[in-house]
Symmetry: D2
Subunit: 136 residues, 4 copies
């Protein structure tokens, strides 16, 4: 398993008139955690795109447990639980710093080349993941 | 079944550097379709909030099939397939005007009062839905 | 003078916890009005980008008079008051359908080629503007 | 003069299909810097709102010098140059960590009570500002 953590401070811009964070605003937070995870693996996403590999989102699922509010200090945990092949699935927990769970989510991504065709993950990324997953 | 349609023109602001619409931007489009559905039922959401009932999003699931692009003319179809009780589930199809399917989604919402406690749907809304669902 | 009008319905996603539209959300509305103005001139922005000319925003100025609120029906008027050369300035009024003024704004844009160098407006656009401005 | 600094990492969600940050996304960054400035003064905005005083944006002016890009590490400097009275004006510089200037901006805000009427700044905030401005 590969796991990363990112800290976020909730912006006023992310709230809505219900006084809580609008549900779509969590998705960029998941992105932040994903970017951090790739950084922690030594394969920054910016580099990957420069090498011609992209990771568009194919699927998103979010369950909102408790609302996030303006100025909350949030932690987003991202986990990859299986060796990614043509696709990569990521699990997230969005929590308050106090540990209170706000949202659970998953995203599924496909590795795509610049012609928008499925491709294999970059070798560097595969190698980085391989050190975390027991080969069977 | 209750079904509604909304037309949307993709904004430049909704794209990202992949040249396509960023995945979180579909969620406000689903909102537009939901708002239209409540309008079509004669129970505008603005009125419902003024009566003290809110519909926060409890769950979102999106499957992205094809990318939407700047200036595309989009149609979002929203459907309620079962008589809502404490919760309401909505199914969406995001399509191009040509009919091409871009995204399928569902949202789940809880009826909440101003103290953020679950409550029954407003009588007017229940009556409006009841005319669409055969009582068994 | 060239003038265009666009209608917008305020999304819940555009509000903030003050119960009104967050100030940055007006900027995509100005974009909608600008896109409409180029359409009305017969030179859609999408076409212009496909021809290799872009119009990045160089300057924005907004004065917020009255708040916009969820579900408001908004009209954005965009005007070009002078023949554009290397740059184009656009004036906006954001109003309620009732006529109440919500926001006055200007944007300044530079015509840029794909190498991000200043360039002349496309001939088609210059011709379209020329029919609206008396040559002196 | 009162001055504060905030660090921001550019999100993919903040880019557009021009490959750069969409111009409206700078406004929430200015907000972050403003929030930090109030923190540094010992008067967090969240507290101020809880005390019934709000700071809606009355005016925004931005000059975009160079584009910000995905993953850039940005610093936003916010300055208050005059003792605020019924209104407060804030000056911003958005820079790369390398020092390169990306955007200069100002915002003007009015102190408002919960009835949306102009009011004086909270005493605590006035006292905090007073220590920074020579009384004449």
């Amino acid at each position: 398993m590969v796991r990363s953590k990112t800290s976020i401070r909730v912006r006023y811009a992310e709230t809505d008139m219900m006084g809580i964070v609008y549900h779509s605003r969590y998705l960029p937070w998941l992105e932040c955690a994903r970017i951090q995870l790739l950084d922690d693996l030594g394969c920054p996403y910016r580099e990957m795109e420069e090498m011609g590999v992209r990771l568009p989102v194919v699927e998103v699922n979010c369950r909102y447990r408790q609302p996030a509010r303006f100025d909350d200090r949030i932690v987003v945990v991202a986990e990859v639980r299986e060796m990614p092949r043509a696709r990569i699935q990521i699990f997230y927990q969005v929590k308050k710093e106090s540990g209170e769970l706000l949202c659970e989510a998953t995203t599924l991504h496909g590795f795509m080349n610049l012609e928008n065709r499925p491709c294999r993950p970059p070798e560097k990324l595969r190698a980085a993941f391989a050190t975390h997953f027991t080969l069977r």
